[in-house]
Symmetry: C2
Subunit: 414 residues, 2 copies
């Protein structure tokens, strides 16, 4: 994309009321716009990052045979009353509103109940199980405070997956597959090394659930880490977990983290309370085992912005960057324009996404914008470089500068 055709621009300053580093950077770089606390619009470059993250998650969910769908934001009271979760005393983050005829409706902050209710149409017998399905849904949560930028929103994108099984063993088997899929996701997102499968509080059916916690100073959680044994425990279950796992508290290192995913074994509690059963091989009605698997998509984008940034701006991992190359054209001599236009077209033709800075602004601003936006490779064409038959390549991650021929450049970028 030519920057002259992009309506956003980088900003000198984020809004004064924006205290989170992730949002400050993303706003300054023109990736997001703050509509209100906890509700951000995703502008073209931000939307690209978001879609790149979603696509990685989608591929890994499809790989474990989950079906993508999209539920509604509008939620019926009757369905949530079945599990007692309509009550504002029980769930204190509902947004509720009313239809014209005064019927109360909620805005989905989670979709477990709605999914189980919908599945009553499709689950009859053991032949229909197992089932796995997921969605990318805009969740609405009426948070009292929303000061963590896109890491905690009143309106945010979540991937929520649910699986249903005929037996506890089948669920456990799938649950473990999901853990592996999640590991692949965080690795592809560039935060695999700093993300830990963490024991957390479990609920009615299992002693523990599993969270995925990423090390960051911007985190709201503390986990206790045994690096050698690769064990991580959420503060909330530390007493139970050390007992269970046979490790001593002194071996553990407390560290600040942000939750980027969680998986949960409901056993049969959720489906039982909603009245979803199946006919087993003896044609007897039996309970269904259910797991739930979440990833906060916008949240993980915020965590990456927090972790992968420096005083110059964002540093996107190549897999999710809004473009691979930021092409800086210095000067507007016929020669330079022609060469930059040609290189832009050549790279795009090879499927390499390029932000082509064809604007009439100072070189210093172009360089600063490339850094603030965090595009992995900055490529510069200028009259001076032309004369030497060279193109300049700077990698955002380490700042390394190389002068290359066009063939050398293309070999590196491919």
């Amino acid at each position: 994309m030519r920057l002259s055709n992009l309506f956003t621009r980088t900003l000198k300053e984020a809004p004064a009321d924006e205290v989170a580093k992730n949002a400050q950077l993303l706003i300054r770089a023109g990736f997001v716009y703050k509509e209100m606390a906890g509700a951000y619009a995703y502008l073209p470059l931000g939307l690209k990052v978001l879609e790149n993250i979603k696509q990685i998650v989608r591929e890994e969910m499809n790989a474990i045979h989950s079906n993508e769908l999209i539920m509604t934001s509008l939620q019926r009271k009757e369905i949530w009353e079945k599990t007692g979760r309509w009550d504002d005393e029980v769930v204190d983050i509902w947004f509720k509103t009313k239809l014209k005829d005064e019927t109360e409706v909620g805005l989905g902050w989670s979709h477990e109940e709605a999914i189980v209710e919908m599945l009553k149409q499709y689950v009859r017998s053991y032949k229909d199980l197992p089932i796995s399905l997921y969605q990318f849904q805009t969740k609405m949560r009426n948070e009292l405070r929303a000061k963590s930028g896109i890491m905690r929103g009143r309106e945010f994108v979540m991937k929520d997956m649910y699986s249903l099984h005929a037996s506890a063993e089948d669920l456990e088997n799938y649950y473990n597959q999901a853990i592996e899929a999640y590991k692949r996701i965080y690795s592809r997102l560039g935060i695999g090394d700093d993300t830990y499968v963490t024991f957390a509080s479990g609920g009615a059916f299992t002693k523990f659930s599993h969270e995925f916690q990423t090390i960051t100073d911007a985190g709201e959680d503390v986990i206790y880490l045994h690096r050698e044994k690769n064990i991580a425990i959420n503060e909330e279950v530390i007493d139970d977990a050390v007992k269970e796992l046979g490790i001593s508290r002194e071996e553990l290192e407390p560290i600040k983290t942000a939750e980027v995913g969680n998986i949960f074994n409901f056993g049969t509690t959720k489906t039982d309370s909603m009245g979803l059963k199946f006919a087993d091989q003896n044609d007897q009605q039996a309970s269904i085992y259910m797991g739930s698997y979440g990833i906060g998509i916008t949240r993980v984008m915020g965590v990456i912005a927090e972790k992968m940034s420096d005083d110059k701006g964002l540093i996107w991992p190549e897999n999710i960057a809004p473009a691979k190359v930021y092409l800086v054209r210095i000067g507007d001599s016929e020669n330079v324009v022609k060469h930059a236009d040609e290189l832009y077209q050549a790279l795009e033709k090879q499927g390499i996404d390029v932000l082509y800075d064809d604007r009439d602004v100072r070189p210093g601003q172009k360089f600063a914008d490339a850094e603030l936006m965090g595009i992995p490779y900055r490529v510069t064409i200028s009259e001076r470089l032309e004369e030497a038959g060279q193109i300049e390549l700077v990698t955002r991650g380490d700042g390394a500068l190389r002068q290359l021929t066009q063939d050398e450049l293309i070999a590196i970028l491919n």
Copy 2:
């Protein structure tokens, strides 16, 4: 996709309260699920159709250099008060709710005001114009009645595009480009021949706006058509339009249609009332011309379901079908299973989307499901056909049946 891995199934009947043909068919085929009147979940096959439609629209919007973004559903009262459209007396379809601190917020039913407000951050001078941007947004509209299935929702997907210009001429030029882009979209969606650019009521700035109206008995509008001159006029402006266009009312044929898109010239009214200006070449503050361009994505899917269906079910145009081929395997002899598995893999490898009916159900049900789901090509492999070295191909549109060798089949499908 293997049908054994898809959790939905076809249903004998739609819910008794579902009166719209489009929703009845889509529910029976397992494409959508009715959460409540006017709010439908999109199940895997329905989501595929939706995404296919979005992708066609996206390509055509990008082709006229529009930037994709996504605004928030949560809307601030102050912004909409600037144009008087917060008032429920003025806009009677708001869903409103409250933050914890009692701040009233709305759920976006349109995004003009929010977009103009956001653009204040980016528009300074004539150099920043023109701008075009669009989104696929889940709009929330508190409709009194919602009886048209996915054609009129309380929660539905809309593509809304907005363009801003330094002069009336520049807007008019872009407006005409958008009309051509819309024509290409409806043509690619398979309803081009039955969709008319229609004069409709204009508002403050222009005498007419333009609607795209598609002929269907399920429509809520009536247009007057001059087939020879390719002129269409919405009933609401018939008197003005015949005068303006110099045609007589008797030449016009009234016909029932559904609105599938609309484009609107705001002139400078919207931007003026929101206080968005730009510095012109003489550094004088000047008004901005704005156009808006909508397509109801879920609505157009409903219109296609209404128009392209028969007593056996849906008949998707190839461009938007959830799969190109429905592969029926009859019997489970080793030979048949092996051949069907291989053909499935061969077609998918060539990028042809296949629904592979590998379920243990009667052939009659497989045929009926293929027809109800409306997949363009049904391919059958059976023991009897195997013996003759043949594969059966049936086209959903005309029911034509052919027996082919595998090479002949693949040549046709490619």
